[in-house]
Symmetry: C2
Subunit: 377 residues, 2 copies
Amino acid sequence: ISGEYGDIAVKVAHLFFFNQAQSIEVFVFGAGAIGGCLLDQIRDQKEELLTQKIDIKVVAIATVSSMMMDEQGLDLTNWRSDLEASTTETNLQGVLDFVQAAKPLNPIFVDCTASDDLPNQYLDIFKAGMHIATPNKRANSLSMDFYKSLRTVANTQHRRFLYETNVGAGLPIIDTLQNLFKSGDSLTGFYGIMSGSLSYIFGRLDEGASFSQAVLEAREKKFTEPDPRDDLGGMDVARKALIIAREAGYELEIEDVIINRVFPEDFDDTGSVDAFIQNLPKLDSYFAEKMAALKKENKVLRMAGFIEDGKCSVGMLEVGPEHPLYPIKDCENAFVFHTARYNPIPLTIRGYGAGAAVTAAGVFGDILRTVSWNLEA
Amino acid sequence: ISGEYGDIAVKVAHLFFFNQAQSIEVFVFGAGAIGGCLLDQIRDQKEELLTQKIDIKVVAIATVSSMMMDEQGLDLTNWRSDLEASTTETNLQGVLDFVQAAKPLNPIFVDCTASDDLPNQYLDIFKAGMHIATPNKRANSLSMDFYKSLRTVANTQHRRFLYETNVGAGLPIIDTLQNLFKSGDSLTGFYGIMSGSLSYIFGRLDEGASFSQAVLEAREKKFTEPDPRDDLGGMDVARKALIIAREAGYELEIEDVIINRVFPEDFDDTGSVDAFIQNLPKLDSYFAEKMAALKKENKVLRMAGFIEDGKCSVGMLEVGPEHPLYPIKDCENAFVFHTARYNPIPLTIRGYGAGAAVTAAGVFGDILRTVSWNLEA
């Protein structure tokens, strides 16, 4: 045993000798709503996890403006003000150099940014020896080539790529799918309400609200983006459906996801946000007629992502009381998986699919998945 | 680096040098419906998992009558006939001695038996250096003292105790709860339909079946035990509710679970199975009246396990259409978790909660949770 393996072996022996906890060294990029909540959760749970022999240390916190790093683990008591006071410029390469030099046992890079650029660095992050956990959907919705590279490099580096919160926030979707498929199950159909705002809007329609009223309410409550077309356009749902389809083995690009337009053909949805908002009432009679017809069949309208007959789509579904999406409203999300084994009754997971606390908890869960005792017994 | 750490370090270096897959050495006790299905799934998925750098080897298969073991991994092509032909007597101590001598990197003991005795050996199995995965509820429903010992010893040995399939078969219940609580969430309420037979029986009541008809149908379809009182008595549900309560931090014994009797007080449920079956129609008017009254309120009757106000119970619940248990019937299971964060809308997971294929897949998932690359980077 010599060279770099020797270093690791010494650490293993040391851990064992002192019967220490398994360490996780966390590097958090992005300290906004989700990242901040995650840091608070880690701070509050650190002691409890130590009793379970898990020693979770936050080694670095970085934002666009500054970063702080401490090999021994940062004191998180006042991390917000400490970070504000830090004059160190954020430097990803510096972090990677540190990891390659210090060789922490179990370093994990947590991308809590909404950056479109950071995912381009994931391959280098794996190569530096870090796991990656992220709620950021970007990496998994880029090209299929990049998608495969991420997995090849992670596997070759023996690092884990964890993204449970890419869909459904803290709901256990990705891990569940991976376990199903690894054991030989296969997806035969999928239906999901994967947007809180669309869950709310279409749920309000069953309750008798007009379409414009439902959209305006959702906007006022800040469930939608400032421009509700960002929600109603279905692109966010399309990305999530793509990620689920790829998980199931479909080799699809985002362009392959069929987005069925919510608005009738003759409705002009272009122009400024204000113009769009002002035009909304023109849609009311269209949706009112639709809802009246559906009511006679005891059905409701749901905007969903779905996978049927090998095709991945986004659009409105008409569902009756026997369908698991029927009761989904009030921002609730739901994921309905039909598989070779979950047949004829599907596997359904429902609950909040957004929110800083549940999303941070999902990322926390991903971080803890890297714990292992394998070699210390 | 010397002695036993040296051995491990050599293996780590070797793995790294050849960029080999992470190995999992599986020791399966019990090759009935679930164990057999698991072995078939492992056989069928072995190649696919190798492409993901996971090398899963079944080192031993044991039943009450015989066992077979091969350090290099058994050829599973004809494992059933090979096992039948084996003249080696099953010997747990022999397996443990082998593990302690050969020191496989990642050995996992899989208890697919229904044995009441084998769980008493779990502490020794951990001490021999093995993880344990099991669908067998026994260990987790014994005394709280034993429950804690299992976890203390597993943690001290740096081994994992995995029992996702103790409740809900392949549905992701235990892992989800553990992730929630480790990140600081807390359970405020739970409602679960955790028995396929009771799901079926009470679902048939909404559809207009009489109670005796519903029970007899469920028995004919082999959804219930030969003696339906084993299902209707609620003890199996009580054990599952106990396991969920303990997961949430409740220090309860099985005797603390309140079982509310399904039958009216004046009904005599003693005597032989035949006598009980013959008496069943006497319950029909009782349930018919109940259902008629509930129908007026648009409610249904569900037999569930539930945790409310710090108490863990089993019994009938009357639920309306807004309740996640309302649509659950036809053997479907459902688990509804109210937590500090999943509030007011709970986290709900529903689907088949029994069956060899989905249960085996859940055990398979547990086995794969032991994979880790931590020290080879």
